[in-house]
Amino acid sequence: MSGDLERRYRRVLRVLPGWYRELWEEDMVATFLDGWLTGDPEADEYISTAARPEWAEVASVAGLAARLYLGGAGAPRRYFAWGQAVRRAVLTVMLVHTTLALDVLVRTAWNRRLFGLPAPPASLMTASPGGAWPAVYYVVNVAWVVMFVALVLGHYRAARVLAALAIVPGLVALLQAQVTGIMPAPFGSWAFWVLFNLVPVLAMTAFHRDAPRAARWPWLLALPANYLLVVVPLLAIQATGNSAWVPDFSGLCCLLVALACLAHAPRAWSRQAASSGVWSLTLTLLAAVAGAYRIITLSGYLHDPHLIKVSLAELLILAAAAALVAPDAARAQAATPAPPPHPRTMAA
């Protein structure tokens, strides 16, 4: 009687992990069908043939699947390792956004000689475009900073909303450029928005109620440290008129992730640090994102063999460094026990 409808709903439930389906699938199906079937054979036959699970129902199962695959407290080891790795990768990408936003805000202040700053060198002077975009742009940059702090402090919902809003102007600008035909490197521009905006915002579903809080101070201090160790040296190189030595954004991502892999490799190989595997998995994820972006942006350099060689060298360095931590990343999936579920959470 419930055949077709039941089959459709079971198909939706296939997005859930196997271990979860074993425990809950029959009960979920029974509850779902209770909501549809009336007990009248004729009506039920029609419902079974014509009805389909509503989108809201499918979305609720998808949300449950995201929480289970990107596990938190009480999750099986494999899903907890993936959950932690995705959360750290998202935090890292958001740290990059926030550092870039801070850079824009500092450059703006410097260009406008706010706070009594002296005039910047000519190589750092930037022209401000007209219209409403500059205002939107600066609000977005402030939003990234607030979003990162909110995420680290555990205000996940506020961080998700801010991040979702912060990526919209970028999408609007891309669509505008696409329509007007003034986009210089369409693949690279779209790849940046998808890989560094859309995917991390979607991956923020990993920050659910069961997710352990991020280590607050290390992540907050990472922002000024990243600014001082990465942005300031790049600014200094630019200020001295040596911009040609500064790698492009995708090259910089490849080199920074490669450096992080090299720095982490001794821990990954020692097998003594219990938490090293999650970092190895995080770095492998970041290497995949940086590598994919480097490959896509190669299309913008087809006219210049030198830049192609430099880009391929960056890719090779990244791949070699990622290979050092990849075995530990694979082990992490079986060796990272999740903390037990909260005995009782009274937070709102």
């Binding site: 609720s60 949300g63 449950l64 009274m346």
Partner: protein, 107 residues
Amino acid sequence: MTGQAFFVLTALADGPRHGYGIVGEVAELSRGRVRLKIGSLYGVLDRLAAEGLIEPDREEAHDGRLRRYYRLTRDGRGALAEEAELRAATARVVRARLRLAGAEAAG
């Protein structure tokens, strides 16, 4: 404790219920404001079970399907009572402040 978890525990306070029974009871308790989707309901149920606040009671056959009933554990009863007290205390404060603000506006 989330609003959904609070409503689910409340729905089980007067006796065991199966999944669809909980959905209906929560809708009624919340005067239609909380309509649990199945994915959300089982997200709450598995979390409450992992926290030891609810447990399976029995299974009954209905139209060829097995309905699993859930009941509150002793810990679940305690957690619900504590949460209800907290919410009632908050509601008392809200009412008192609203009365005070109303009196000041009138005066």
